[in-house]
């Protein structure tokens, strides 16, 4: 399936370069300090090629890499009422929303898409940490309900990529009520006997972890992702002792029996295909049996591919 990588990458690059790195084409890995050409980084799904550090990735870029041919269609999410509490801290909530929308180019903190992975129909939902910390409010709740309903309608699995600091305080109690609301959504999938796979990405904390992000049939995390209910700082303040190395990181949770797997982002797609096909009792995915690039419909990203040389096939 390498040709797909080659075919899709240039478009991601064009998005990436325009939105996030208008001038500087280099990024410094905050883990190992290596200077990385942004193209090299995005080709590797924002995983540092030199140390394996997983940086944030937007839901759109994730979906483009996840779905066959990078093709997915968005599932519509019913808009909740704006600013239900008329919340104001140092700024008004609607101002914070506008700033987040401007910075990310997205309407809210979760994107829901449907399409195929390895020729297996799925619905996917991905949380956007760059949008107000991915926080769970009414919209995110509606998005998960819409995703579950669509999966039930299409009789296909739901794969959810979580990333959030927790509940959206600006929606007060209504953000807290997304814990039961999203749990109802997961129950719809259970009753329809459809797989619900959670991929926990850095960071997934607070009320999000204490609801839909911990209720998967299979729980996978990206390496070194912080996954917790109470954050390490709060715990250190409470118990007044130093926490062990790697505390609340994906590998630590795996060791403590809280996860099924820790899987690098670059291997995630193949693994998800294998898992959902078995749970759906489908035969193994046939590799290479995919439509030729010329037959592909337009990508979700509207830009025309720039004249870029495809990257060399990766192992």
């Amino acid at each position: 399936m390498n040709w797909i990588t080659n075919y899709v990458r240039p478009k991601i690059n064009s998005l990436f370069s325009r939105r996030e790195m208008p001038e500087n084409l280099w990024t410094k890995c905050d883990e190992c300090g290596t200077m990385l050409f942004h193209r090299e980084l995005s080709d590797n799904l924002n995983v540092c090629p030199s140390c394996g550090h997983h940086m944030g990735i937007s839901p759109r870029d994730r979906f483009t890499a996840l779905f066959d041919g990078g093709v997915f269609s968005e599932v519509k999410v019913p808009a909740p009422i704006a600013d239900p509490l008329q919340f104001r801290d140092q700024k008004r909530y609607p101002e914070r929303m506008k700033a987040a929308q401007r910075d990310t180019g997205e309407t809210e903190a979760m994107l829901v898409g449907e399409g195929e992975i390895g020729r297996t129909p799925i619905v996917a939902a991905a949380q956007d940490f760059s949008f107000m910390g991915g926080s769970m409010g009414m919209y995110v709740g509606n998005a998960i309900i819409a995703a579950a309903e669509r999966a039930v309608e299409r009789k296909c699995p739901l794969i959810l990529f979580s990333a959030a600091g927790g509940a959206r305080m600006q929606e007060g109690i209504l953000s807290l009520m997304q814990m039961p609301r999203t749990t109802v959504a997961i129950q719809m999938l259970r009753e329809a006997r459809l797989p619900y796979i959670v991929v926990l990405t850095h960071p997934t904390t607070g009320g999000v972890t204490a609801s839909y992000a911990m209720l998967g049939d299979v729980q996978i995390a990206e390496p070194n992702a912080l996954i917790c209910f109470a954050g390490p700082r709060v715990i250190e303040q409470t118990i007044r002792e130093k926490l062990p190395e790697g505390f609340q990181r994906a590998e630590y949770l795996l060791d403590h029996g809280m996860l099924d797997r820790v899987t690098p982002r670059t291997k995630m797609r193949d693994e998800l295909i294998i898992i959902v096909r078995m749970l759906m009792r489908e035969p193994p995915a046939i590799r290479g049996d995919l439509p030729a690039p010329a037959d592909e419909p337009a990508l979700a990203a509207p830009e025309a591919p720039p004249e870029a040389t495809p990257a060399a096939p990766k192992a």
């Binding site: 009422i81 039961p180 204490a210 209720l215 109470a230 118990i239 002792e241 505390f247 609340q248 403590h256």
Partner: protein
């Protein structure tokens, strides 16, 4: 009443003066102070009424956390008969921050579960100030399963600052335990009735209060985060808790308007901490009424009603 809240200080002074006068009169029987003392009493009563007529959200937080308010144990002892505590999560430990077991509410057998904060230093430590660990939620899940199997209604009494932020709690899956408890609340085919009697703190409260009917005491609170926590994150200053308490809309009155809470149980002037018996019996009456509404309902109806209640939630804001 010795435990005055900060905003009750002027009241403490007047009541203190009246007490002093009466103490003097006891020492010197020839002194006549009763007229003066009675005037002070009247002034104090008026002040109490004025203070409690319109409590600010931050003052409500203080009242909700008042150490003299009746706690879960007080309600269970006063309202239920044949209370038989059932302990443990069958996996790791028995969490003393959560009490629960079989009991009768006016002859009707039920399962009752609640957070217990403790009443003195020793019991507060033993109860971990009402902050449950994963074992507490897992005990609750077990008890809800038991109730479901034997067709007993479940009553939960919510009073927690939140889940315990500890090392072991995280290692043993705090978030998973809360998520499963919330899920269990939504699954059981028996009525689940919940009363927030003090503090409804975040996920720790949701894990018990995902109920068919949620009632709140007049001066209790229910919030996604404590005002102090919210202030330190959004205002970068924990001292802005008054502003945060306003903004969060965490009072029973606002939550009723938002459709998150179904009923408010009134507290006499001065709050539950001054009128423990009256408030406990008001809660008992409310529980009885809320339970009776589910008599004869089918299991599937009960589950469906609970689910659609939460799916519909949030359709209206405060402005509506």
């Amino acid at each position: 009443m010795n435990n005055y809240l900060e905003f009750e200080k002027p009241l403490a002074e007047i009541e203190g003066k009246a007490e002093e006068l009466r103490a003097m009169a006891r020492a010197n029987p020839e002194m006549d102070v009763e007229g003066e003392a009675a005037a002070l009493d009247q002034k104090a009563d008026q002040m109490l009424a004025d203070l409690y007529k319109s409590l600010t959200p931050w003052r409500k937080c203080q009242v909700a956390r008042h150490p003299d308010r009746p706690h879960c144990k007080d309600y269970i002892e006063a309202l239920f008969q044949e209370y038989t505590p059932l302990a443990g999560d069958r996996n790791f430990a028995d969490d003393h921050a959560v009490m629960g077991g079989l009991a009768r509410l006016n002859d009707r057998p039920v399962v009752v579960i609640g957070h217990e904060k403790g009443a003195d230093t020793k019991s507060r430590i033993e109860r971990n100030f009402g902050m449950a660990r994963p074992e507490g939620y897992r005990k609750a899940i077990r008890l809800m399963d038991l109730a479901d199997r034997f067709r007993l209604p479940v009553i939960t009494l919510v009073d927690t600052p939140g889940a315990y932020p500890g090392k072991g709690a995280e290692e043993r899956g705090q978030s998973e335990a809360i998520a499963r408890s919330t899920e269990k609340c939504l699954q059981i085919g028996v009525p689940l009735i919940s009363v927030v009697i003090g503090e409804g703190g975040s996920g720790g409260a949701v894990a018990f209060a995902t109920a068919n009917e949620v009632a709140m005491l007049e001066h209790s609170i229910y919030s996604v985060i404590s005002p102090e926590g919210c202030a330190s994150i959004l205002w970068k200053d924990a001292e802005k808790m008054r502003e945060a308490a306003e903004a969060l809309r965490l009072t029973a009155q606002d939550l009723k308007k938002l459709g998150v809470v179904d009923r408010i149980i009134p507290e006499p002037v001065g709050g539950a901490q001054r009128h423990r018996t009256a408030v406990i019996s008001a809660v008992g009456k409310a529980l009885e009424e809320m339970l009776a509404a589910y008599d004869g309902k089918k299991r599937s109806e009960i589950v469906a009603a609970r689910r659609s209640k939460f799916l519909e939630m949030g359709r209206k804001g405060l402005a509506a």
